[in-house]
Symmetry: C2
Subunit: 373 residues, 2 copies
């Protein structure tokens, strides 16, 4: 194998695939990137942790075909430090020689035959193509509401649905629920066909990062049995669909709320962060009291003391006292773009919805915590 | 105790003294700051870990005298999040009430009687006053050459000497030695008197940070028996002098060098960082080969492979091959201000001096490593 590639292309390729490497696993080859020549002008980089696989193509001037694996982290460190020039890679037995201007490296690798086969085959039976930007934004807005990553926990997944030109993305961990609905350009061939998938929140976070690195305008998603292949420009992300019945989350969202407060987002963030210095670290509870255009916040820590703060809001409904894990509320406040938000309430024990005052269709439902006294 | 202080003054005071607190020690009171009213217009903040004590005065409008201790970290978090206004603190039994605009906190503290006494007494028998800036710069330039902090290791200290208007600051850990000499304004009353001290590098690093926070133009240093008191504006840093005979380091610096290379600092940093990706992580050895206006660098890692690089330098002496722990060299290169540096050499096994090409009197001596083959 012998080829010449631009430093930036090579580095970008490694940055994309290295998310799927396993640094300190039992199989050393999983820490490596598989480098293969494809034709005279392209090489392919691949990495896999068995659960998630990523492949990408980069431009190169191929002088001799072949394939080999090299430690992805070391290779990334080396390429990133090279001067902005052409990088030449030449295989020489069990080492790859990399040269660039006055710099030379001999890197010990592992034979490509030890690298697991990545199943990229697709028939495009059930596929969709949509705009990248709104999809990535929706992922960012819901992903924090998913449960922590566990292979067999459906709640660690994110639901994505496309119906004609409506995208719906949602996640819930049982304590909160985030849902985004957006009008998008549906670029699929059969745009009447609806599309639905449940995919790990971890994979979707990686997808957002890859999308940023490629700057691709559109994303293709293909379901193939239990497998899902996401195509962003010249990059493929391959993972498995999560199987099972995801909760019917739309039924959990109350249709009407008798009480509504309009709140300045930045005032609430500042007050919440102040009050949160004095909360019980075990449950992170902050009490919200709404009364006569005022929101009073209070925290109480058994060891350190207590805190109170208040901000002006628009609220003229019945007074209410309700408590939340403040971290859930803060997560929403830090993601939402609108400077003003609505808090929509029912009783101190019912699901409360936080949402932007803008016309974005984005809701963040938080279950309150019962107060002892 | 009852007083009102400006948020910024209060926060700055806590930032200064919190460096001497012990967060998870056996004595909870050592995590606290002692707050005392001094007169109608000043309060004093103190913290100590027994080894290092810091006290500072801040302006305040005192309404009721008293003293109390509060957890320094929590207090800093609270004050930093308050709006930029006057902060009122009022003692109320075992809690302090802090109020600022709409924010209120009750913080549980510990009685001042449990706080250790800090011995600040000074007779000014042996003292000196010098400019802050050159002193802080000299500390920054030598402190990395001191050995890691250990109470009884003299080499973890830094030597500071003032003779008339010459400041000399030096540190060595046995493998390298940094020395700075600077002409300074000596503001002491008896400027003929020479002054010398050996002080922990850890304390000097803290001193640099405090000096930056206070922006004081001058620093006073007072030796009092085994104690040393450093006065920066309204802050006192109290620690003990290190006792013992520090090595006569000036004797270790060769007077003449038969070989000299003039090197571009930034080219060397870039090449060294590239080559360093492939060094043995146990000893961090990089080989330097000087020959005909060229510096070749090479690294070798038993597991990953090897690396070579070369840069143009000014070198016309006899060829030499010498090896260093590259981290020592890089530390100097990242601290020195001059864009060009000299490497002054003798034999592959003798002390090598790195120094700026500017007229700064700053040398960084590194002992080479013997190459096996």
């Amino acid at each position: 194998m012998k080829f010449v590639a631009r430093k930036d292309d090579f580095l970008n390729g490694i940055r994309i695939i290295e998310r799927a490497t396993v640094i300190k696993g039992l199989q050393p080859v999983l820490a490596n990137v598989l480098i293969e020549t494809i034709d005279n002008n392209q090489i392919k980089l691949s990495a896999t942790d068995y659960d998630l696989s990523i492949t990408t193509l980069i431009e190169a001037q191929v002088e001799e075909e072949g394939k080999f694996t090299l430690p992805a982290k070391k290779l990334g460190e080396i390429i990133s430090r090279l001067q902005d020039e052409l990088v030449r890679l030449e295989l020489n037995g069990a080492t790859a020689n990399i040269t660039c201007k006055n710099s030379k490296f001999d890197i010990i690798g592992i034979s490509a035959s030890e690298f697991p086969k990545i199943d990229e085959a697709i028939s495009e039976e059930d596929s969709i193509e949509i705009e990248t930007k709104p999809f990535v934004k929706a992922i960012r807005q819901v992903v924090s509401a998913a449960a922590g990553y566990e292979t067999n926990n459906l709640l660690s997944g994110v639901v994505c649905e496309v119906n004609k030109n409506i995208l719906e993305v949602a996640a819930t961990d049982g304590n909160r629920l985030a849902r985004v609905r957006e009008v998008i350009k549906n670029l699929s061939q059969d745009e009447e066909k609806s599309f639905e998938m449940l995919i790990s929140s971890k994979v979707l976070s990686e997808l957002s990062k890859v999308a940023l690195l490629t700057e691709a305008e559109n994303i293709g998603i293909i379901k193939e049995g239990k497998k899902i292949v996401i195509i962003v420009d010249k990059t493929k992300i391959i993972t498995r669909l999560m199987q099972g019945q995801y909760p019917k989350y739309n039924q959990l969202i109350p249709q009407t709320f008798p009480k509504e407060a309009k709140v300045d987002k930045n005032l609430l963030i500042a007050a919440l962060e102040r009050v949160a210095v004095m909360v019980n670290e075990k449950n992170s509870i902050v009490k919200f009291e709404l009364l006569d255009n005022t929101l009073k916040l209070s925290g109480d820590s058994p060891e350190s003391g207590n805190s109170q703060d208040e901000i002006d809001v628009q609220y003229l409904s019945e007074p209410i006292t309700i408590a939340f894990n403040y971290k859930f509320v803060l997560e929403f406040l830090k993601i939402v773009e609108s400077d003003e938000i609505y808090i929509e309430l029912n009783t101190p024990l019912s699901a409360t919805v936080f949402k932007p005052c803008s016309d974005e269709d984005y809701i963040y439902l938080v279950m309150p915590v019962q107060l002892r006294n």
